[in-house]
Amino acid sequence: MATPYFRRKKDEMLSWWKTNRLEFNRKLDQFFGSLVYGLSQLFFETGQAFLFGTQSIRLIFQKPSRWDEVLRHMEFIGNKSVIIICLTGGFTGLALSYQIYLGFKLVNATNLVGPTVALGITRELGPVLTGLIVAARAGGAMAARLGTMRVSEQIDALEVMGFDSKQYLVAPRILAAFVSMPLLCAVFDFVAMVSAGLLCVKVLGIDEAIFWDKIQQWIEPGDIYQGMVKAAFFGLTFASICTNKGYFAKGGAKGVGEATNQGVVNSMVLVIISNYFLTNLIRFFYVITGLRS
């Protein structure tokens, strides 16, 4: 009974394949084509953004100086991000410590909750989440602002007035992001650890002395520096990408929207990807310099 059924099914499938083979292959080609195109575009745009960023940041040391602009952008990127960083840091510390506590309780290792949370926060979550949040907030604003200035001819007006638009608009933003990000990361680390400590000690009943003592025992300044170095690199990354996207935006309001969207998305993807490679690179640096075994 089964044989004719399967034969019929096989014939049906063969006939479908003969009819739709070309369309199927075309769709497959399209899928892989767009995947390869998307990846190559990401690499191309990253390279372009880094060239743009390095060219621009060199200009900050040329006269006339733009340090007042750097400070103004640091106030926007740094000061105005503090509240959102504190909120995110606080709740990340709470959630992470609670999950780690639940896991470690199973093996009676709650003494190690503190250092585990501290390592996770200082090395990984602090810089990465700071990078993602500030890229979305300040990076998006950078791309939108420069894009609007480009399509409304304000950048042309600047150039015509004898300003170097990259020196005036781009370089201060990149430098401000580079300087502000490690400071924001430090704020994130601090708030996350304080909130984790409060939860563990006041709610979950871990001994306060043990919690902080173990952290002191296991965490080294190098762990904190590692996160801050990463945060500075993420600052360079998102500021270069977003300013590049905004600076070359075209096509009116739609173009500005696309530039902002692409700037933020590319920045976030690159923060995540580069985090892995930075982790390895820093580890490699610590090993070859003998700072860590």
Partner: protein, 252 residues
Amino acid sequence: MMEVAIDIQNLRKSFDGKDFVLNGINLTIPKGKITVIIGFSGTGKSVLLKHILGLIRPTSGNIQILGRDLWSMEQKEINLFRRKMGVLFQYAALFDDMTALENVCFPLREHRRDLKLKEIVDIAMNKLKVSGLDQKHFNKIPSEMSGGMRKRVGLARALALDPEILLYDEPTTGLDPILTEMVDHLIKETHHVHTGSTTVVVSHDLFAAFSIGEHIVMLDKGTVLLSGTPDVFRNSDIELVQRFLAKGFKTG
């Protein structure tokens, strides 16, 4: 002999390497006069203006401004040289986070570092008054101003550094007839106040061209179709010029 402010030789520009937006422009803009560049939409008027401003690099050809080639200069030299040019953009291109007064002070703060802040503010206020902006609007930001007010602030900003060449990109686009007349009058007045300055107006407004222009240039398909005084245009037997004049005056 006529002094030359801008000399353009065989200027060609292609954005895609195939089609040429400007296809061999040869043009001389006289010093001290009002030159109006006219033409149908898409003939390359704005692209030509951006070449004169040095915002676009030509594919080939040469542009001499006051005897200097912008593209043979270093960036710093270009920035200094650009002080000699003032531009009123189509939509004024004011910095939207600055007030009218701050917009005019902006180029002065950059290029006149020898002046004290009070002196800069005094110059800026004077330029705004010359441009016809009422003092009660000095502290408004662009989004609080009308199109005409923005044009006045844009003009005051363009005049801030007392440029030798003043360029206007479609100054009357999007304005009502009364404002258009006002802007035309403003261009003429400004030119007469700044004796010796060269004015270049890019426009498709034929009335403006004939009422303010001492020298008119008509572009077609990326080349100069006709260049001369308004009388040369009136007496021209080139069909396209006649059609443009007839259409322009009819719609005007």
